[in-house]
Structure formats: C-alpha cells, structure tokens
C-alpha cells in the first residue's frame, strides 16, 4: 500500500526532475558552483558578507542599478542598528511633494523610504547606458536560472572575444550570459572596493559578497523560512508517525 504511494512519489519526482532542464541556463557551460552559507536546510546568511556586499552595491552597482523593493529599514536584516540605518538613509535624497506651492522637492531619506533609484525612469536609464536597461537587482537572484551561482559565474565570466566570434558594437564577451554578449562591462576587479572589516578585496571575494547581498535582497525571509520549515516538518513527521500508529490500531480490529 505505502509502497505503491512511494513508487508514485518517486515517479513524480522523476517527472519534476525532467522538467527542471527547462529552468536551467541555456548555455552549455556549467556554472561555477560555490558553497554558500545560506544554502541547505540549515542555511543562514553571513551578515559580515552581506554588509561587505552592500558596500559593493553602493560603490559599484548603484550607479546604474536600483534595488527599489528594499526599504532602508530592511537593512536591519543584514545587521545594521536603527541609528546606523538612519544615517545611511539620510545620505540619500528622496523626491517628495508637492509642497504648498505645488512643487516637488528633495528631502533627506528616512528609514521608511525605499532605496532611491539611480534613474528617474527606464527611458533615462536606457539613454545613459547605450540603449540597454540596467535591471533592478532586488530580485535578480530569483529571476535568473541558476540563481546565485549564475550571478557569481557571470561576474567572473568576462573574457576576451574568441577570434571566430561576431561581436556587436559596445558589447562584451561573457561565458555565462545567454548569447555570450552582454552590454555591461566587467563591473568588478581586485580592490575596486575597500572592505571596512579588512577582508582582502579580490575580485572573487567581491563577487562572492555582492552575490550574497543580492541573494538576501531577493529572499530576505530566507532564514525565517528555513528555520520555520525545520520546525514544521519535524512536527509533521512526528504527527504522521503517531497517526500511523493510530491508523494501525484502528484497523487492527478487522480481519
């Protein structure tokens, strides 16, 4: 009885694994897989890494990419205190209004504001970037097949154009980007950022930290989700085992 059910679940799992190819990256190149502290059932974010990644975002990425779904108060999740958040927010200028004269005006950011975007609208963004729109990074890790590994690989995947490649103007070669031509030049290199905690800022370290930060912006609920998951499944397994006992007891009466 249970065997049939298990067989079916196995079959369904095989089915699901079969669909999975539709979700992986098109490229034939295998992604550079990393061990991330937040992967796995007991995964947790490394807050120090997230804070370094945030610095990378502010100093390198924020010139072109927004993270409009994050509010400054969310930075609590990467370990900043209320006061630190207040200071960070106040470093940004937010458009507010209209005032009593009907004009829009600038004011200092508050913790309740969302992160200010680098461009007022998508068209301005394209204008400043050769027609390409630098996507918002809040969800980028969930919005790309391969997730955080894809992001890390991408940042480390810049190479010279191969001789036989027909390169378009203004594009750059990347091993992992679908089609291999990307409009963004390699954004990071050794020491482009200096880390406050003294960690050596090699390109791969920077890539690791910014990827972790963006994994957090995409899934800030990750730690709560996994810890609640462990508790819930433990509880459900316990109850199911007890139910198995109850079922057997009830059915024992029958021939």
């Amino acid at each position: 009885m249970l065997k049939k059910l298990l067989n079916l679940i196995t079959l369904i799992s095989i089915y699901l694994v079969w669909i999975f190819p539709a979700n992986s990256a098109d490229s034939d190149v295998e992604l550079i897989k990393q061990n991330w502290p937040f992967s796995g059932i007991f995964g947790r974010f490394d807050k120090a890494s997230l804070q370094r990644g945030f610095k990378v975002y502010r100093e390198v990425c924020a010139a072109c990419h927004g993270i409009r779904h994050i509010s400054y108060r969310d930075l609590k999740g990467i370990g900043y205190t209320k006061d630190e958040i207040k200071i960070i927010a106040s470093e940004y200028e937010v458009i507010d209004g209209p005032d009593d004269e009907g004009e829009m005006f600038f004011r200092e950011g508050k913790e309740s504001d969302k992160f200010v975007e680098p461009y007022e609208n998508a068209n301005l963004a394209r204008l400043a970037n050769n027609g390409a729109y630098p996507p918002d990074l809040s969800l980028i890790v969930k919005a790309r097949a391969g997730g955080v590994d894809y992001l890390y690989s991408l940042l480390n995947g810049y190479k010279e154009f191969p001789d036989d490649f027909e390169a378009s103007e203004g594009m750059y070669f990347n091993e992992f980007y679908p089609g291999n031509q990307i409009a963004m030049p390699s954004p990071i290199m050794d020491d482009i950022v200096e880390f406050d905690d003294g960690t050596e800022a090699t390109q791969s370290q920077i890539a690791r930290d910014i990827s972790s930060f963006l994994a957090w912006t995409a899934e800030p609920e990750l730690e709560e989700r996994k810890s609640l998951g462990v508790k819930t499944i433990f509880f459900l397994v316990l109850i199911t085992i007890m139910l198995l006992g109850v079922k057997r007891k009830v059915w024992k009466d029958l021939e």
């Binding site: 009885m1 249970l2 049939k4 059910l5 079916l8 679940i9 079959l11 369904i12 089915y15 699901l16 079969w18 669909i19 999975f20 190819p21 539709a22 979700n23 098109d26 059932i41 779904h69 969310d74 996507p135 809040s138 969800l139 969930k142 919005a143 790309r144 097949a145 997730g147 679908p178 995409a218 800030p220 609920e221 989700r225 996994k226 609640l228 998951g229 462990v230 819930t232 499944i233 459900l236 397994v237 109850i239 199911t240 139910l243 198995l244 109850v246 079922k247 009830v250 059915w251 029958l254 021939e255």
Partner: protein
Amino acid sequence: MDNIEKSEIKGVLGWIDRRLPIFTFINHNLRDYPTPKNLNYFWNFGSLAGITLVIMIVTGILLAMQYTANTDLAFDSVERIMRDVNNGWLLRYIHMNGASMFFIIVYIHIFRGLYYGSYKSPREILWMLGVVILLLMMATAFMGYVLPWGQMSFWGATVITNLFSAFPVIGDYIVTFLWGGFSVDNPTLNRFFVLHYLLPFVIVGVVFLHLVALHQFGSNNPTGIDVKSEGDTIPFHPYYTVKDYLGLGFFLIFYAILVFFAPNFLGHPDNYIPANPLQTPPHIVPEWYFLPFYAILRAVPDKLMGVLLMFAAVSILFFLPWLDRHKIRSASFRPFYKQFFWLFFIDCIILGWCGAMPAEGIYVLIARIASGYYFLFFLIIMPFLSKFEKISNLPSSISAAVLSEKFEKDSD
C-alpha cells in the same frame, strides 16, 4: 417528501437536528457510511483534493486582501506581500505551491479512476462532474498565474488568449472581447482577478454535486466488484477518517518541503521579472501542469487544429464511460488494458517533458508520436479492448477477494 424518522439525538443538538438535519447528515454520510473495506491509498486523493481546495480558498482570500489588480501596481503588491506583510511570504508560497499540489493530487485521482474503471456505469455523471472540476481548475490556475504580472504571466496570457483567434470568422472578435482591448492589458488583468476569485466557489459547488453523485452508489474499489453485502463494507468512521488523516500527514510533509525549502522549484524565474510588452522571453512555458496539453497544442502544424486538439485532449475524458464499455471495471483483472494504461501514463509524462522543451528538432517528432498515442489510447484501444479483451474469472465478491489475497500472503 421523505418521511425520515425523527432524529433521536438528545438535547440541544437534537433540537437543531430535527429542524435542520446537519448531524444526521454528518452521521449518515461521514460516520456510519458503508465503504468498501479494501480501498487502497489511491482512494485518499479525493479527500486530499477537497482539503487542498480549502487551503487555496483560505490563502487566496487572505492574499486578495493585500493584492492590487492594476498593471502598474500588481507586481509591486506581490513583492509587498513577500516582504512587508507579516508571514506574507508564507501565505504566497503556500498558495503558489498549493496550486501545483492541487494538480498533482487531482491527476493521481484521475489516473486512479482510469485504472480502476471508476468512470464506468453507474458512475458516469460522477466522472463527468470530475472533468468539469478539472476544467474549472485549469481556468482558475491559468488566470491566477497572470495576477503577479511577471513576464510569464503576461506572455503566457498573450499566447493562450491569442489561440482563440484561430477560430474562423469570429476568432479576432473573441480575442478582443476576452482582452477587453487590443492586447493583454489592465482590463484583462482586472477581469482575470475577478474570475479567479469567483471560479473556486463554482468549483466548491461542483464538488458538492460530485459528492452527491458519489454517494448515490458509494465508492468504487480496487477489485471493481460491486458491494454485495454488509460484510464487504466498513463504516467510514473511524476506518477511513483515520486513514485520510494519515494520508493528509504525508501530503503535508511533501507540501511543506516544497513551501519551505524549494518554493520556486516548480515555477519559472522569468516571472520574477516585471511584465514587459516590448520584450518576449526566449522560451514561453506554462506551469508544469499544463505542459502535456501545451505539447499537444504545438505538435500540430496548423494553428486551429492545434487548438482544437488541445481542447479535445481534455474533453475526450467526458466520453470515457462510452469509449470503454468492457464489463470488467478494474485493470487488476484486465491484463491487456493494464499494459496500455501504463503506456498511457508514461506517454503523459513524455508529453509533459515535450511541453517544456523548445518546439524544434527531435522534440517535435516525439511530441507528435506521444500525442498520437494519447488519442489512440482513448479512441481506438479502449473501444477495441471493450469488444475483444477476454473476460477472465473474477472473485465472487469483495470479501472473497480480500480473503483470497490474505490467504496468498499468509501461505508465502
């Protein structure tokens, strides 16, 4: 009308029951109800489907309190739910994965029916009501997926609604009418939200009818042999209530693993990109539960025929009780039918896989062969077997079958 004896329940409950017989109803249908004693775990999936429906409605209503159905605001409202609403991420992931669970459950439930001949007389209407529920589920799920207004939401909606233009003469009018405009846009989103909220309650109504039809003759059983005496049955409570709870436990574990540890496994990353009418994703794929039908749609080179065949693939289920008229219900006693059935099952998986692949190269050939077998199974094989499959000796009753099984087990 009916001269039912006055309820003998005492006290307040009895007072209520004599005026509105809820307790008698519950007793008769859920407690004392005689059920075949040999049901296996494949009979759990009906109650699991009902529970999943309730979960979807509850989480859906709570989500609807926070969602905004406007093209400028929809995507952001979903992100607000994920980030700012207390336990919003949990609510969203339960609802999102619940849709997948609902289809897994219902597909297994349908395959159970196919294997054990549950669609045969006198349960034809029970079966057809089930197909209606499947169709309503598909419509509901399709519209629900549009609501977050991601790239797949928008482009999936565009592709599927465009299909209706295949109909000659009136096709374009139908599509414009569906859209409420000249492309998938705000009017479309708004009406999809309303209908997505409405249809589940229609499903509840049809489920009620489905259960009434079920209780006309009671459940089928793995032998396919009718209940002949009381000895063939056991009361629903406590035997099947407790077994259903156990099944629920396993279901919830599987569901929880998805929700908490792989919430986006069955989804598509492109739906985390806000809808952009000016940029088509490289591969437009529907959710996994539509993949077999998507494969059939694309297998046919002609647009209209593809649409008709896709609808036919679901509609053909309505005619099952008349396509298969073999006297024996259960595949347990039909060795030929059994083989073709398992081939059909694998065929559905292959079709699903094809649906996920780009419609080029070898996938086209495989999809065509698989679609061919799909219809062959229903239109040719079933009627053929109805006439020519030998009727082997059946056990005389359910009890006899159960006893002889026990005898075999014990003597091993």
